[in-house]
């Protein structure tokens, strides 16, 4: 029964010339990765240090990159990544596997932390330095002069809404699927598809403006 439903699900995505051949293999591979990671998490829940180390090695750089792309501040990104790793370890016992990658749970913590941080900064009246920099660097000439693709992208992302920025970073940089992005952001898969479309359009307009 499950096999039929799975096939029907895939058929509904078929294009005029049929589905791409590697799709099912990739799906299976993804699921195997998720399950392998779940086993690693179970070991970490039993306080197995190599397993904790493996999770740390996987997620610290990812969370750092996620935070850096949103804030553009090395130290703030380091602090947030460290903070999220500690929270991950402290809350690991609360995690239960529901078919989603463990990363979705970790990034959910990171997203909440980021929201708290923005809220706190706003309340303290702090100027978001990265926004100031973005405003300065976003001129076409400045954008054209940016040697680093990452820097250009980071600056351009500042011109998107928070949700558009989130979906670009989570989907295209961190590589999550729609379901996981939806879980992290608290939105449906359909909403993520729409957001992704709008976000790419908005990003294209910002970059085109910068390139002119």
């Amino acid at each position: 029964m499950r096999a039929i439903a799975w096939t029907i699900g895939l058929k509904s995505l078929e294009g005029p010339t049929g589905p791409p051949a590697p799709a099912q293999a990739a799906e299976r591979e993804d699921r195997a990765d998720v399950l392998a990671e779940w086993q690693l998490v179970q070991r970490a829940q039993r306080h197995d240090e190599p397993a904790i180390g493996a999770l740390y090695e996987t997620y610290y750089p990812k969370i750092y990159n996620y935070a850096f792309m949103q804030m553009g501040d090395v130290h703030a990104a380091e602090d947030l990544a460290s903070d999220v790793m500690l929270k991950m370890i402290e809350s690991l016992h609360k995690y239960t596997f529901r078919g989603l990658p463990f990363g979705a749970w970790v990034f959910r913590i990171a997203r909440n932390r980021l929201i708290d941080l923005h809220r706190r900064r706003k309340r303290r009246g702090e100027v978001d330095l990265s926004e100031t920099i973005a405003a300065t660097l976003a001129s076409p000439q400045a954008l054209a002069e940016r040697a680093l693709e990452r820097g250009q992208l980071q600056v351009a992302l500042k011109h998107l809404t928070d949700e558009q920025r989130q979906v670009i970073v989570l989907k295209f940089i961190e590589g999550f699927d729609n379901r996981s992005v939806g879980k992290i952001m608290g939105r449906s898969e359909g909403a993520i598809k729409s957001l992704q479309h709008r976000a790419l359009g908005a990003l294209r307009r910002v970059l085109d403006h910068g390139d002119r």
Binding site: Y56, M85, I168, Q196
Partner: protein
């Protein structure tokens, strides 16, 4: 093509790109949408190929060390604590959580509870977090398990307090109330279970570290949270008293006037009354460590002050026949943050799990670090924001040397060099060099606030100086009504000479002229706008050629440095310096505070 169709095709093509397909091969399948799809897919591919930002290895190493320590702590806690639910209770855990959601958060959602797990005391969701914890406990029927969970929750409160402080927030009342509540309930259960030796030991050790933390964070407690603070502090102190077998307790009201850190020679008066460094206080069986106190020793203690200003010692942290150095204090900008610690003034200061840190650490941030020398090198016992972080705070900071001319009972007010100082709930009194009484020469570090001088630290100095001589260090703020304004204090300017630059840090010798203080001599310590100097204060523990060591803090003193006084072993020093071309800290200004050693037999440090 409808929007829904376009977004579906885009999504499908993006999935294909992620599997390694090319943009063109996807467009072949959708020729009609190809024109609109191409730029979006090309952009998606560019974004996917953007190299990630890579964290610095030092930051990565530091974070791993913290994670590893935390994991080890959790592993230890797990080992000490029995399973939360007994036989047949495994199913109850999810049931408890589910019921908690239903019972506690009527009107709330699962997402609310989920989000609340990470909330801090300043979040509206924090009460949801506390309520969830409480409901969880309803389903734990075994007393020892319940006590273990309560101790965990108490530990979580401490993490929240630390997190708030490191985020630059004050400590609010709700987290202190919750800390008190968890500790009180755990203590109440454990009192009925003397056989739970492991949990009782954990409770005692947790109470000790929490008392130390609470005492250290007093200045950061919100004014509106003082009642909750005294309640939480009294509770942990009483738990420690009970643990030592004492059948007495301290009441929160007895702490309402704040906390004083005092060091000085002990003198017995009678009937549980002592003078420590000349300050009168009660030391009795509610004072932890009091049994070792003898007249004549130098005691370092923490005393609580009640609303009448009377002092009651809470705990003695050190007793020595000879006063040891109590740690150098260094203020300056953080130059580097590594997995080992921070670099200030070119010197690595190690941070350990014992270091009380009340700010986040960032390069360029100005910090005040109390350091000690250990077998592992220079270690910070505390790191906090440098007192004068903002321009306004720098303007209102003062250091004054003068003679005590009077004080009120309970030492809430001191007259030094004709100036009236109020003590605050956190004033530290260092009376190791002599009694803090009339006629004693003292250094007062103070801030000016709405026309009042608030003493932050009072240090009794050895040796005498002319009683009408006052020495002032502060920022020159300009002239007003013919007076120099220095750190908020009005001084009669000298008869001749130019005014210092506004904003520069100056040192002034002054004498009484009627009710005024008249400047007789002025020196500039730091030019306006120059933030490169590091301020240091400590006891000289070694002199090696031109290098002074102040309890592990090394300073090179060249002939270009402005030195006042004779740098002898055991004397205390206040100074400023900056990193020289060779990376060492070069003194620019040094003032030796004591005319004779305060430490009679300092341990010589090895030459560096």
């Amino acid at each position: 093509m409808a929007f829904g169709g376009m977004r579906g095709i885009l999504d499908e093509c993006i999935a294909a790109l992620r599997r390694g397909e090319s943009v063109d091969s996807c467009l072949v399948r959708y020729p009609r949408q190809a024109e609109r799809l191409r730029p979006l897919l090309t952009l998606a591919q560019r974004v996917m190929e953007t190299p990630p930002a890579v964290p610095r290895s030092v930051a990565r190493g530091t974070a791993w060390r913290l994670v590893r320590q935390r994991a080890a702590g959790l592993r230890g806690a797990r080992g000490r604590r029995p399973a939360a639910l007994g036989l047949g209770g495994a199913w109850l855990r999810p049931a408890a959580v589910a019921l908690a959601l239903l019972l506690t958060f009527a009107g709330g959602t699962g997402a609310t509870v989920y989000a609340a797990q990470d909330s801090l005391p300043d979040s509206p969701l924090y009460r949801v977090k506390l309520a969830t914890e409480n409901v969880h406990l309803w389903f734990v029927f075994d007393d020892s398990s319940k006590a273990g969970i309560l101790l965990d929750q108490s530990d979580e409160r401490v993490s929240e307090i630390t997190e708030m402080l490191q985020g630059g927030e004050t400590v609010p009342g709700n987290v202190l109330s919750a800390l008190h509540d968890r500790n009180e309930r755990a203590a109440s259960i454990l009192q009925q279970h003397p056989e739970e030796t492991g949990l009782r030991a954990r409770s005692l050790s947790q109470s000790q570290s929490q008392e130390e933390l609470l005492i250290a964070v007093w200045p950061e407690v919100a004014v509106s949270a003082r009642a909750q603070y005294t309640q939480a502090l009294a509770q942990v102190h009483n738990t420690r008293l009970r643990g030592s077998g004492a059948a007495v307790s301290i009441q929160p009201e007895e702490l309402s006037g704040g906390i004083l850190n005092i060091a000085g020679e002990a003198e017995f008066i009678g009937d549980n009354m002592w003078k420590i460094g000349g300050m009168e206080m009660r030391i009795d069986d509610r004072t932890i460590g009091q049994q070792d106190l003898r007249p004549g020793v130098t005691a370092r203690l923490v005393a609580a002050r009640n609303s009448s200003g009377r002092l009651h010692a809470l705990s003695l942290s050190g007793l020595q026949a000879d006063a040891p150095p109590s740690g150098a204090v260094v203020s300056g900008a953080v130059e580097k943050v590594t997995d080992e610690g921070i670099t200030v003034g070119g010197q690595l200061i190690r941070l350990t799990s014992e270091t009380v840190r009340t700010i986040g650490l960032k390069v360029g941030e100005r910090v005040q670090v109390t350091i000690n020398s250990t077998a592992n090198g220079v270690v910070a016992s505390s790191v906090k924001a440098a007192g004068a972080v903002t321009a306004t705070a720098q303007m209102s900071s003062l250091t004054i040397e003068g003679t005590i001319e009077g004080s009120t009972a309970g030492t809430e007010q001191w007259i030094v060099g004709g100036l009236k100082f109020l003590t605050t709930p956190t004033t530290t009194v260092d009376a190791k060099a002599g009694k803090a009484q009339n006629g004693a020469r003292v250094q007062v570090e103070a801030t000016a606030d709405n026309g009042k001088l608030l003493a932050q630290r009072v240090t009794v100095l050895s040796g005498q100086a002319p009683s009408d001589n006052v020495f002032v260090i502060g920022v020159f703020q300009g002239t007003q009504d013919g007076l120099w304004l220095v750190g908020g204090l009005g001084l009669l300017p000298p008869d001749s000479g130019q005014d210092p630059d506004t904003g520069s840090l100056i040192a002034v010798d002054a004498e009484h002229e009627g009710k005024d203080l008249a400047v007789t001599k002025v020196k500039t310590i730091q030019q306006a706008g120059d933030n490169s100097l590091v301020r240091f204060q400590g006891t000289i523990t070694s002199v090696d050629g031109s290098t002074l060591t102040l309890e592990a803090w090394r300073v090179k003193v060249s002939s270009a440095a402005d030195v006042t006084g004779r740098a002898t072993l055991g004397a205390r020093v206040l100074g400023w310096g900056q990193r020289g071309p060779d990376g060492t800290l070069q003194a620019t200004t040094i003032r030796v505070l004591d005319q004779s050693p305060v430490v009679s037999t300092p341990t010589p440090s090895p030459a560096h």
